[in-house]
Amino acid sequence: MSTLEMLFGHVTMASAFRVACPMIVAAMGGVFSHSAGVFNFAYECIMLCGAFFAAYGSHISGSYVVGGLFAAGVGMLLAAVFGFFVYKLKANAALVSSALNMSAWALTTLLLYTIFGVRGRVVSDTIINYPKIHFDFLDRFPTLSYILNDNIWMVYFAYILVIAAFVVMYHTSFGLRCRGVGINPAAAETVGVNVGRMRWTTLLIMGLFSGLAGSYMPMSGLSTFNENMTSGVGYLVWAAILVGKSNPVLTAITCFVFAYTDALSTVLTALEVPMQLVSMIPYATVIVTLFVVGLRSFTGKPRILGD
């Protein structure tokens, strides 16, 4: 295979298409909470705990549906914990997010040891995977079929979710109120929107989708759970939301770009580029994207705008 084919060929694209799924699902939940001004970046925590509890739920019940429900439930629970500490106990949101992110690794590793009895990773047939869906009409186009066919339901759900999120955000009253609460809570309050309830609702939506996104990794065919399985994906999701400025379509495109750089890592290691440089690429991409987007407001003079 030529280098160009490796970089942009169907293998890489297929991988990117799949890897983007958890990021997009989590980000679609996150755009709502971010629009409502909820400063929660604990995606890493919720996705990792969602992954663990999906594996656990699937393990004890033998059904992937229960696994998915466990993951979504745990996600909502963690979001509620965040809401409790920040809205009821008036703690600092960035602090609680950081604490949650950090404790997730410790907590899941601990639970991995106490429940499954192993350290590092568990590979078990009792973790039932999501079934793969096959579309017969795609068999006529082999390249397209390679990319789009034989994926688990969540991959297709992610892209449908993008369209749904876009419609809800910009064409329903819920989306309008959500954005209004984020832009100016006081104004929203005077119009009659219950700001507190809106924040809690978007927080729970974010928890639900992030937890569900977390369930992708253990149950996508590998039947495994690793220590720190998400390893930074949560931060990339948050970065995508910030770069896409809470616009579902832009955020999804950014997620896809990040997923593409992730898929690129396999190709590049095959080309003998050192693994560490390859791992840097998604994060460097964020900075480059921010730079390019920020060039629009470049005036040549240094200035600080107050918050």
Binding site: F85, L89, K90, A91, N92, A94, L95, V96, S98, A99, L100, N101, M102, S103, A106, L107, T109, L110, Y113, T114, G232, Y235, W238, A239, L242, P274, Q276, L277, S279, M280, Y283, A284, V286, I287, L290, F291, G294, L295, S297, F298, G300, P302, R303, I304, L305, G306, D307
Partner: protein
Amino acid sequence: MAHKSSEGRIKELAGRLRPGPGFWTLQRHSNAVRYLLAVVLSLLVGCLLFLQQGENPLYATYVMFQGGLANIVNIGTSIRWATPCLIAGAAVVIAFLSGFQNMGIEGQMLVGALAAGIVGYKVSLPHIPHLLLCFLAAGLAGALYALLPALMRLYLNISELLVTIMLNFIAEFGTYYIVYWILMGGTRSNTGAAAIKTEDILESAEMGTLIKGTTASTAFLFGLILLVVLQVVYKRTVIGYEAVQIGQNMEYARAGGVNVVKRFFQIFLCSGFVAGLCGGMEVCGSYHYFLANFPGNLGWEVFMVANAARYDPIALIFISCIWGVMKSGSLQLERVTTLTRYSVNIIQMLFILFVAVDYVGLYQKYKDRARVRREKKPAAKEGNQA
């Protein structure tokens, strides 16, 4: 005018020293209340965790405290782990008190440590100049690493929050790459060293140990002095006052004649310098070589510790010491019991969460609510009778 006798003078001074009637209120001591309640609550939940894993919670707590404080060696370990908290915490305070969210402490620490590690073993100088050169290299590396987010904020108005976090990851991989591929030549050295690290620094670059037999270095004293100096600067100098004003109300500072742009740049680079210095002191004081990805969670922990201390330098000293004791205790716990250090990680996180709660404010709120309810009741009764 009557002269006061010396007795009278002493009595007057003693009267001033005695605490007045309002001293023992809850508000005055809300910080102490917070720390105490947070420690107690997090230990309580921790005991539940210990129980779940099948260990006697009281024994586990005892081991934790013994690991932190029991003998001079354990105290040395506590000091060793409190030190990076102090210095990196100072860097966080410098940035956040002025309202700038420099989350890139971990990245700046890594590049600073790498710079110090390289200068430590490649250059040969007498003791003091070598140390100073290492520190200078570390600080400059950290400040340079903070340059990009500072410029992006100034010229492109891009929030430094995300950029610095991304730079953390890039530093993590970048320093690993430099050590493994460039310095170690891409293969593990045939001396059998399993760790990805640079060579040991020369003796002339090592900092003095505080307590014999431990890795507690004089960097701890440096951290203490740094935080005291910061407290003085913020409370008593014009620069400190301006820095805090920028953080609290930028327009007010601007109206007051502060060159906000210049100060932002200076403060941000200062924060990066101190963070790099922290990394350098870790290398020169405790490790004596650069170990790839050595901060681990420390990069994130310092934010929580500094926030828990409400960015007050003196409070930071106390919380860092508590943090060091907990960390040392967790290592002892892992050695002595079947518990893993993750349990103590969770307790540390809970400590941070519980410290962030404003207990006195909540208590006041519920007290007021109860009072209002009590006052409403007799009025309602009268209303029913009328």
